[in-house]
């Protein structure tokens, strides 16, 4: 029993690295510089199967294939721009996590900034309006005094608005 258990444990220990290696995205390129470039490029590209992951993060079949494709192109000496161009001609600008600035992406690039400016202007005007109202210390007019008295007396004063 004990020997059987020991054998089993030994087997598991032997198999563990193999299992771990099978699971991780294994670098097949021996050149670490090329591999770094591959992963940097993969990190800029959206995986279309699981859309909120990059090709570098995703283990979807397509992402694995595309990593292999990028690796092959890096090995073939293609430039980053050429590889990104290869991807956009096939999958559209949508694959780029860093989208190019053009007519269709103007709202994407400047929308948040525009919203921020609009929000800031609105906030400024609201605050200034409030300050003016607070700073307004001229005496009450006759009508206002009458209304204030009516309110204090318990009359809702609604009909006078």
């Amino acid at each position: 029993m004990k020997t059987a258990l020991a054998a089993l444990l030994a087997l598991a220990a032997a198999a563990a690295p193999a299992i771990a290696a099978a699971d991780a995205a294994k670098p097949t390129a021996l050149d670490p510089v090329a591999e770094r470039r591959t992963m940097a490029l993969a990190d800029e590209l959206r995986c279309l199967v699981c859309q909120n992951q990059t090709i570098a993060d995703s283990n979807a079949d397509l992402a694995v294939d595309l990593r292999r494709e990028i690796r092959a192109q890096v090995a073939a000496g293609r430039s980053d721009a050429e590889i990104l161009d290869f991807m956009t001609t096939r999958y559209g600008d949508f694959v780029l996590y860093n989208p190019p600035l053009k007519a269709t992406t103007v709202a994407l690039w400047f929308g948040p900034g525009a919203l921020f400016v609009i929000g800031f202007v609105v906030l400024y005007r609201v605050l200034r309006g409030r300050r003016e109202r607070i700073a307004d210390d001229r005496p009450l007019s006759e009508a206002e005094r009458a209304r204030a008295e009516a309110l204090l007396a318990g009359d809702s004063g609604r009909d006078r608005v």
Binding site: V49, D65, E69, R90, Y91
Partner: protein
């Protein structure tokens, strides 16, 4: 009164954006292929692995290229529609058997019927990458000059077939 109109307008605008935004299908990414020549390929045929088929073999015809696989569940969903379309003989249908085992693919066609004029084997998915395939099944309408005119991602529904694909095919066949 003004006090209520502004927040109400903002709220309605937000509702409008959400209504449209949540109704969009994020899987339908605008394809860069429409109006561009179909990427070249030459692959072994599924029914006769010794023979090869190239996209140029279809020159002069309006045809459908349907990307499918035996492991693809949604393909099973659209398959009866393709079989029906094949029976009508409106246009040739070519299958791109994507990242599949040939034996599994052949068995699948035996089981569910073979609507394809022929299927080619893209075992490593390289042609799939050239066609920007990311959600099998996908269907391309290719015109006489070999230009991609329409791309449908996901299973074809009777509605898209009747309202989009077939009218487009009829129009392309006239020209």
């Amino acid at each position: 009164m003004n006090k209520f109109i502004i927040p109400l307008a903002i709220f309605m605008a937000l509702v409008g954006f959400l209504f449209v935004g949540l109704g969009l299908n994020p899987r339908e990414v605008p394809s860069p292929f429409i109006g561009r020549p179909a990427p070249a390929f030459e692959l072994a045929r599924l029914d006769a692995p010794g023979e090869r088929f190239a996209h140029t073999d279809m020159a002069g015809k309006v045809w459908l290229l349907n990307v499918w696989a035996s492991w693809c569940v949604a393909c099973r969903q659209e398959h009866p529609l393709l079989v029906e379309l094949a029976e009508r003989k409106t246009l040739p249908l070519v299958g791109l058997n994507y990242k599949d085992e040939p034996a599994d693919a052949r068995r699948w066609l035996e089981q569910f019927g073979d609507p394809y004029q022929l299927s080619v084997m893209d075992r490593d998915g390289r042609v799939g990458i050239d066609y920007g395939v990311y959600g099998v099944p996908e269907t391309f309408v290719i015109d006489r000059k070999g230009v991609i005119r329409y791309k449908h991602i996901g299973p074809i529904t009777p509605e898209t077939l009747e309202k989009k694909i077939l009218p487009l095919v009829r129009e392309l066949e006239k020209s």
